[in-house]
């Protein structure tokens, strides 16, 4: 009799857990539906929301040298993306200090934007068709391309040498997907963020690290025992991502970008971080 009871209680627990999963599903669907009209523009846009709370919240990288990197000396996040974010804050809020930076990774940025944790993503984010299904993109604000970072004594000279090698990448990045297509014989190991991926390369957990040349350059600046090889084998146009249908924010961002470019401010920011003027198309 006692045995029966405990078997029954186990079955009951299983059923309960399945039901919990099912309930969780329904609840999670609700907020998504409730958000739909808001992002459709019939309710407050994120520009109005940012003005009301008194600051613009932007998701940026904290671990990517030259784009968004937390300086351990003063705790400030600095980089090209940060300067662009400040320019947008100046445009929308009228003051470039009315901004809150939140750390995102390639993995967390789209969910965070959709949740409403951040108003915009300025985080070395490549514009892709797949991502366009989830978010809206501004005009291109940076032209990058995928490349390979290897130790100076490595025999790898390009993607043709990657057969059987381990390629380090970052979860959720376009480079991870593209290297699988361009070098199908390579093993790909994906890490949480660029700091960890670079640590993995330094610890010889893989033969090469792949991502956009702009990010690799930042790593190479930190540790000159590595070099970039293989040229640029993809086009990676970076865009600023905002919630789908948020037309007011999109307009403000695009206006800021074109003003920055026409005033020459963009070139100045670019030169400040990359040490050269942007190549004109």
């Amino acid at each position: 009799m006692k045995k029966k009871v405990s078997v029954l209680s186990l079955v009951f627990m299983l059923v309960m857990s399945v039901m919990l999963v099912a309930c969780g599903g329904k609840e999670a669907d609700k907020p998504a539906d409730a958000n739909a009209p808001a992002s459709g523009g019939t309710e407050k846009s994120s520009v109005a929301a940012a003005k009301e709370r008194g600051k613009l919240i932007v998701g940026v990288k904290y671990d990517t040298n030259l784009f968004g990197k937390k300086d351990p000396a003063d705790g400030q996040v600095k980089g090209f993306d940060i300067d662009i974010a400040k320019a947008i804050a100046k445009k929308i809020m009228g003051d470039d200090t009315k901004i809150e930076l939140k750390e995102v990774t390639s993995k967390t940025r789209i969910p965070m934007l959709k949740n409403g944790d951040i108003d915009a993503i300025i985080a070395t984010m490549t514009i892709t068709e797949e991502r366009k299904q989830e978010v809206d993109f501004s005009d291109v604000y940076f032209e990058a391309g995928q490349s390979l970072l290897v130790p100076k004594d490595s025999s790898i000279t390009g993607i043709q040498d990657l057969n059987g090698k381990t390629v380090i990448a970052v979860k959720g990045s376009t480079s991870a997907k593209q290297i699988r297509e361009k070098a199908p014989e390579a093993k790909v190991a994906e890490y949480e963020n660029y700091a960890e991926a670079f640590t993995a390369l330094k610890s010889k957990k893989g033969d090469t690290l792949t991502t956009d040349n702009s990010i690799l350059l930042g790593m190479q600046k930190e540790d000159s025992s590595f070099k970039l090889v293989g040229g640029l084998f993809t086009d990676e146009p970076y865009g600023i991502a905002i919630r789908k249908g948020d037309a007011e924010m999109l307009k403000a961002v695009n206006e800021t970008l074109s003003e920055l470019k026409s005033s020459g401010e963009y070139d100045k920011i670019y030169e400040n971080w990359f040490g050269e003027k942007p190549q004109k198309k």
Binding site: V21, G24, G25, A28, S106, I110, E134, G172, E190
Partner: protein, 218 residues
């Protein structure tokens, strides 16, 4: 919602299954190794030799009070700075084993302490050595008592193995991270991965309950 989960499953079932297999391998190896290591540490802790007691206590306190993630990082990244290269599989399995062993040692120590002293004394008095008395008299009784807390540790072990996802461990969590970033269906991907963990932990819990009942009868 359900449709999304089914879509993810039909597109990525290979990744889920290979992740499940890796998670299972890591869990089974760590489970056996941590049970052995934990038993040895527990015996150290209650042995009459002062030196062994100190070693055992130091191990338990040091390991139990540091985060598992740091231990895994130590085996994976830390050792490589000493030119000891461990794969993510080996580093993760080692980290899980070392970590879980500390908790298992505590559970077993509590079990052994709950066996009346007279048992050991009687066994020694009838001519068994300390190790024989442990092996044939005390431990078999203690194991019966510690089955439920050990079961908890094993279930924790399986769930903790998800930390391997951060060192490219190719386990369930690693694949789930990648699938969720490819599909942008975060919630659905992780719900599915939760179900996969249940397929390991629920049978494990049933097994522990069954063992407990069986040993109680014997």
């Amino acid at each position: 919602m359900l449709q999304n989960i089914l879509d993810i499953w039909s597109k990525y079932n290979g990744e889920y299954v290979s992740g499940l297999i890796t998670t299972l391998q890591i869990s089974v190896i760590s489970l056996i190794a941590s049970l052995l290591l934990g038993t040895v540490i527990a015996i150290f802790c209650i042995s009459p030799f002062r030196m062994l007691v100190i070693i055992g206590r130091a191990y338990v306190e040091f390991i139990r009070n540091t985060p598992l993630l740091i231990q895994i990082f130590f085996f994976y990244f830390g050792l490589s700075s000493l030119d000891i290269q461990l794969s993510s599989f080996v580093a993760g399995t080692l980290g899980l084993t070392v970590y879980t062993a500390a908790f298992i040692a505590e559970a077993i120590r509590a079990g052994i302490n709950s066996i009346p002293k007279g048992q050991m004394e009687a066994a020694r008095a009838s001519g068994l050595t300390y190790i024989q008395a442990m092996r044939y008299v005390v431990l078999p009784q203690a194991f019966k008592i510690v089955i439920p807390p050990l079961g908890n540790q094993f279930i924790n072990l399986v769930k903790n193995s998800s930390l391997l996802g951060v060192i490219a461990g190719m386990d369930l969590m690693y694949h789930a991270d990648i699938i969720s970033t490819n599909t942008f269906k975060t919630f659905e991907t992780y719900i599915l991965v939760g179900v996969f963990y249940l397929t390991i932990t629920v049978p494990l819990s049933i097994l522990v309950n069954w063992l407990e009942r069986r040993l109680k009868r014997a």
